[in-house]
Subunit: 600 residues, 2 copies
C-alpha cells in the first residue's frame, strides 16, 4: 500500500495465515514471556498481536530493549495462527498473530504523561495539553470517526436533495446591539472591526434572495458567552435554507437527515415519522420546550382536584391566577433530608415552594401538608398521579411557567436516564412569536426574521401569537431550530415595530438586509442543527468537548498551544488598537509578584 | 413538490404538453405583444416561457400592469406546444410554453440598480453591494454551482480513500514572529488574543501524531496581506495529510482529486498520469516554478552559442558566471516602440537589459545589436531558436534566476492564452530545502516542517539541498503545495539551527509542537489545494472573487453589509483593548470635515 506497510494490522484474519506482511503502527501494549515479546500493535484499523522472538529475529533484540509503549514501529513478518488456547475471541484479529522477522523503530516515544488505556484518570486540562495522545485512545478515536460519519451522512442527504453547498463569509459586520460578537480588528481600516458570525442567518437569507433555492453548509460559528459545560466559543452547525419551501418541507428534510445520520453511525433505522408536539403541549406535559421523552414521569394538572381546596397556599395561588401541578417521581427512597433538598432546589429554581407526599404501603399519604388537605384531596391526588405505594409526589402551586418549569427540571434530575441507547427525536412546533424579556418588553422567541402564522394576530395579540418556527429535540437536548422567514419587507418592519425597535435603529442594524428584501424575495424557510451536540448524544458522551478534536477549556484556553496569548505591541500598531493601560498595569503587577526583585 | 410549485420550470419538455403545472420563479424578461405578455420565468433549474393572455386569465390583467423584471411570482397553467415558427431550438424548454391561468406576485421588486443580463456594465463595488442580485446572473449562478460541485468531487475522492474529515480549530495561538495573523481579542482573558489560522498546518500534523492516519478538511484560512487581484483575506483550501505516506502516495491522491473534479465540472477525463517536472527543469525551460504548459515558447540556453562572443555584454556576463537565455516569441508584429516597452519591462523585472532581434523574410536578423554579433552567431541563434521569418527573439544576459525569470514573465505576457479550455495539470517536484531570503540568510522554500531528501546534504550543502516537497500547477497557476514532513524532532531542531532560529526562539514559537514530535510521531506527508483558484480556472474566470459568494473588495471591505465597521467602546471594554487615540482623533477630524458646524 505504501512504502511503510502492505496491510493494515487490524484487517488481518485467519484467511491471511501464511502471508508475509509489512505493518506499521504504535505499541499499544507489551508483555514479555520467556524472552519473547508479545506486542499489541495499533493502527487506525485496530489492533493485532505481533510476536518478537529474538531467536527468530536476532537483529530485533537490541531494538526490543528500548521499545516502550507508544513507540511508532514498522514490522515485517508472517501471519500465523495463534496456538490453541491463546486465541482471543474478543478481538477480530484474535485468531492470528504476526511472527516478526524485522522490527524497525520509526519514531521513539518519551515516557507518557498519562496512561492511554484509562481515560478517567487524567484530568481534562492535562488531556487537552496532550490532546494528540488523548486522541489515540479508542474511545476518542471512535468519537472522531463518528463525527466525520455524521457530517458525511448529513451531506449525502443534502446532495441527494439538490442542496447547493455555499460558503458564507466568516469576517462579517458586527451588529452593535446584538449579542456579543467575537471581533477581528482590520489592518486596512485601522480601528475598525469585523465580527465572526454567530450564524450565517442573514447570508443564507441573502442566498435565497439570490435565487439559490436550496442552500446548505457545515458552518463554523462563534458565540462569545460565558462558558457552560456544554458550550464552546466556536462550534459547528449544519445550516440549511430553501426557497418556495415551508415548514413541512423543512421537517421532512430534517427527518431524512436524522434517519441518515443514525443509520450511518448506529446502523439502525429511527421510527418515522418523527413525532411532533406543540410548544404548549411540551410545556404542559414536560415543563420544557425540549422534553426528554425517553421516560414518562409527566407533569399533571391538579387544578380541578384542588379547585376548592381549603389549603391556604393552594387557594391563594388559584385566586391570583396560578395553577397547581404535580409530578410522580416514583420510589426514589428519599429521606426527609432528601425532600428538604428538593424543596430548596425548587426555591432556587424560582418556585415559592414545593410540597412533597409519599404514598405509604397502606395507601395513606405522608406529607408535612397532609393535615391541610381533605382526605378526598389526598385520595384524588394518589389517583390523579397513578401513584403506587412508595411513590413520591411533588406538587408546586405557582404561575404556569414557574410551576411546570420547576417540575420539569426536577423531572430531569430524578428521572433522566444517564446513559441510554434509545434515541428519541421530536419536533416542537407552534412556538410563540414573542416572549417576555427580562425588562418586561417583548423579545423574539426565535429571532426577528421569523414569520408569524398570521400577521394580523401578531399585531393584535402579540402575547399569544404563534410563529412558523420549530425545534428539533433529541433525548432532551435542543439539536437546533428553524423557521419560515419573513420575506415581505412590510411584515419585517411591523415585527421591528412591535419589538420596539425604531425605524432608525432597524435601518442602522439591518438596513442592508431590509433593502435586499425589496427585490423579489421568495418565500423561504430554514434550519440549523448543532453538530457537536448531536455527535455527543450519538456517542453517549456527557459533554461536547469529547467529540471536538481540539476544544478549549471552559475559560476559553487551549492548554496545548497556549492560546489565547499576549501579542507584540507591533502587531497591534497597524491595527490601530492597543491593550488598555489598566490591563497592562495588571500584567506588570502580576509579573512583579511572580519574580520578586532581589532587594525585596 | 411544495405548496409553491409542482414542477421546476426549466425541466419542462415537449413530453409535458397538456400537463397542468404550478411554477414559481422570477421574471427574467417580459415582452408584450398584442396585449399578451410573454415572460421568461427563471428558477434554479433554468428558464421557461410563460404566456399571460388577459382574455384567458382575466384576473391577471391587473397583476400584469405592475409586473416588472425580477418580481418573484407563482403561476398555474397548462403546458402547450409553441406555435410553429416560434419554437426556440437554443432553449431546452424552447418547444413549449405555459399558458397561464393564475398569476400571483409572491414578492415585488424595486427598480434594479443594474441590469442582470450584461454583467460587464456594472462596476464591481456596485455588484458586491447588491451581490444578491449579481448572483442571479446565469454566469454567477453557474459559478456557485461549479464551486459546490468541485468541493463535492474532492470529498468523494477523500471518502473513497478513507480520509477522515476533522475540523481543526479556527481560534488558535498567534506565533509572534510569523507572518501577519488576523487577531481575535479574548473576553475571558482581556488583553490577550487568538489568531485566525493561516492554515491548519500544525494541527493536521498533530492529528498524525494522534494516529488519525488520513485526514482532510475543506478549511477556511486567513491571510492578512496586502490585497492583490487574486487574493482575499479569507480563502478556502482542501487540506489533507496522511501518515505512513510518502510523496508518491500524495501525488497519486492529488491526481485522483484533479481527475474527479474535472470529470464532475467539465465532464471530461484529464490525461493521466499528470506530468511531473523538477523545479530545476521548470525554471530552466519556463523561468518559473508554475509553468503554463498550454503553449510552448520555451526559454533556450544560448551559453554554448555565445561562449566566445565578442559582444562585450555577453562576454562580461559570461565572465561573471552569468548565462545567456533566449525566447522566440513568434510573430508579434511589434514596432520599434513595442520592443522598447519590452526592454523597459525587462528592466523593471530586474534584468540589466533585453536584446531583441527580428528574423527578416530573407532570413537575415534585424536588431540594434546585430552589428556586435558575428554572422555565425546570428545564424546559430536563428537555428537554436527554430525561428521563422517574422519571429521576434528576446535575449537576456544575466544571472540564471534573473535571466529565466524575466524571460519567463515575458513569455506569459506574450504567449499565454487568455481564455482557453485546455487544462494542463503539472506536478513540480524536487524543490530546494532553502531559498535565499531578502536579508541574504536562508529561508525555508516551503515551510520549516518540510523534510529534506538527505539530512546530511541539508547540513553540508544547504544552498542546493533538495526537499521532499511538491507543487500542483494548473495552467500556470499554483494550485497548492505540500511536502513530506519532518517527523524526527532532532531533524526539526537541525532545520531551525540552519535557519538561524535559536533553540530559545524555536521553543517559544513551536515548543508545544516540538514536544508533540517526541511521542512516536509517524512519518507523514500532506498537501493543500486552493479551492478558489481551482474553481476560477475551471470556470474561466479572471479573478477568484467571481467564484466566491460574498467576497471582499481589494481593500477588505464588504460594500453590502459595511464590514468592517466601528464598534461601540462598550464592546471593547470587556476585551481590555481600545482604539488608539490618534485613530480616534482622525475620525473626529474627518467627521468635523464632513459635517461643518453652522457657525463655520
Amino acid at each position: 500500500m505504501t512504502t511503510y506497510r502492505t496491510r493494515h494490522g487490524g484487517t488481518l484474519r485467519a484467511d491471511d495465515v501464511g502471508a508475509e506482511v509489512q505493518l506499521a503502527g504504535w505499541v499499544a501494549r507489551r508483555r514479555d514471556h520467556g524472552g519473547v515479546a508479545f506486542i499489541d500493535l495499533r493502527d487506525a484499523s485496530g489492533i493485532v498481536q505481533i510476536v518478537v522472538n529474538p531467536d527468530e529475529a536476532p537483529a530485533s533484540s537490541e531494538v526490543l530493549r528500548s521499545l516502550r509503549t507508544e513507540f511508532c514501529i514498522s514490522v515485517t513478518g508472517r501471519v500465523r495462527a495463534r496456538p490453541e488456547g491463546t486465541k482471543n475471541p474478543e478481538m477480530v484479529t484474535g485468531e492470528i498473530e504476526v511472527a516478526v522477522a524485522i522490527l524497525d523503530v520509526l519514531s521513539a516515544a518519551d515516557v507518557l504523561p498519562f496512561q492511554l488505556d484509562d481515560r478517567f484518570d487524567a484530568d481534562e486540562v492535562r488531556r487537552l495539553k496532550y490532546r494528540y495522545l488523548d486522541l489515540r485512545r479508542d474511545r476518542m478515536a471512535a468519537n472522531l470517526r463518528a463525527r466525520s460519519a455524521v457530517i458525511r451522512a448529513m451531506r449525502h442527504v443534502m446532495e441527494e436533495r439538490g442542496f447547493l453547498e455555499v460558503e458564507t463569509p466568516t469576517l462579517v459586520v458586527s451588529t452593535p446591539e446584538g449579542a456579543r460578537d467575537m471581533l477581528v480588528p482590520s489592518r486596512l481600516r485601522p480601528g475598525q472591526f469585523y465580527a465572526l458570525p454567530q450564524s450565517p442567518q442573514l447570508f443564507k437569507q441573502l442566498l435565497m434572495v439570490a435565487g439559490v433555492e436550496r442552500y446548505y453548509q457545515i458552518a463554523r460559528c462563534y458565540r462569545d458567552e460565558d462558558f457552560r459545560s456544554d458550550r464552546q466559543v466556536e462550534f459547528t452547525q449544519l445550516d440549511l435554507e430553501g426557497s418556495f419551501w415551508d415548514q413541512e418541507g423543512v421537517l421532512d428534510t430534517l427527518e431524512a437527515i436524522a434517519a441518515g445520520v443514525v443509520r450511518e453511525v448506529r446502523g439502525v433505522d429511527i421510527p418515522r415519522p418523527i413525532p411532533r408536539m406543540t410548544y404548549n403541549e411540551a410545556m404542559t406535559r414536560y415543563g420544557t420546550d425540549k422534553p426528554d421523552v425517553r421516560f414518562g414521569m409527566e407533569i399533571q394538572n391538579l387544578d380541578e382536584l384542588f379547585a376548592d381546596s381549603e389549603f391556604r397556599v393552594f387557594a391563594d395561588n388559584m385566586a391570583s391566577g396560578g395553577t397547581v401541578r404535580g409530578l410522580n417521581v416514583g420510589n426514589q427512597g428519599l429521606s426527609r433530608t432528601g425532600f428538604d433538598k428538593l424543596v430548596d432546589q425548587a426555591k432556587d429554581l424560582g418556585a415559592k415552594g414545593l410540597f412533597w407526599m409519599v404514598v405509604e404501603q397502606n395507601g395513606s399519604v405522608r406529607s408535612p401538608v397532609a393535615k391541610f388537605l381533605r382526605s378526598e384531596e389526598l385520595t384524588g391526588l394518589v389517583s390523579a398521579m397513578e401513584a403506587q405505594p412508595g411513590d413520591a409526589l411533588l406538587v408546586v402551586a405557582d404561575d404556569f411557567h414557574t410551576a411546570v418549569g420547576v417540575l420539569g427540571q426536577l423531572r430531569l434530575d430524578l428521572g433522566q436516564p444517564a446513559r441510554h441507547d434509545d434515541l428519541e427525536f421530536l419536533f416542537i412546533v407552534d412556538f410563540p412569536v414573542f416572549e417576555h424579556a427580562a425588562d418586561g418588553g417583548l423579545a423574539p422567541a426565535h429571532h426577528p426574521f421569523t414569520a408569524p402564522v398570521d400577521v394580523e394576530e401578531m399585531r393584535t395579540s402579540p402575547d399569544t401569537a404563534i410563529s412558523k418556527s420549530y425545534d428539533m429535540v433529541l433525548n432532551g437536548a435542543e439539536l437546533g431550530s428553524g423557521s419560515v422567514r419573513i420575506h415581505d419587507p412590510e411584515v419585517q418592519a411591523q415585527v421591528f415595530e412591535i419589538l420596539g425597535i425604531s425605524q432608525e435603529q432597524a435601518q442602522a442594524r439591518f438596513g442592508w438586509f431590509m433593502e435586499a428584501l425589496r427585490y423579489g424575495t421568495p418565500p423561504h424557510a430554514g434550519f440549523a442543527i448543532g453538530v457537536d451536540r448531536l455527535v455527543a448524544i450519538l456517542q453517549n458522551e456527557p459533554n461536547i468537548r469529547e467529540v471536538m478534536p481540539f476544544p478549549k477549556t471552559q475559560t476559553g484556553a487551549d492548554p496545548l498551544t497556549g492560546a489565547p496569548g499576549r501579542v507584540d505591541e507591533g502587531q497591534l500598531e497597524e491595527l490601530g488598537i492597543e491593550v488598555r493601560a489598566d490591563v497592562k498595569a495588571e500584567w506588570s503587577a502580576s509579573q512583579t509578584d511572580a519574580v520578586p526583585s532581589e532587594s525585596s
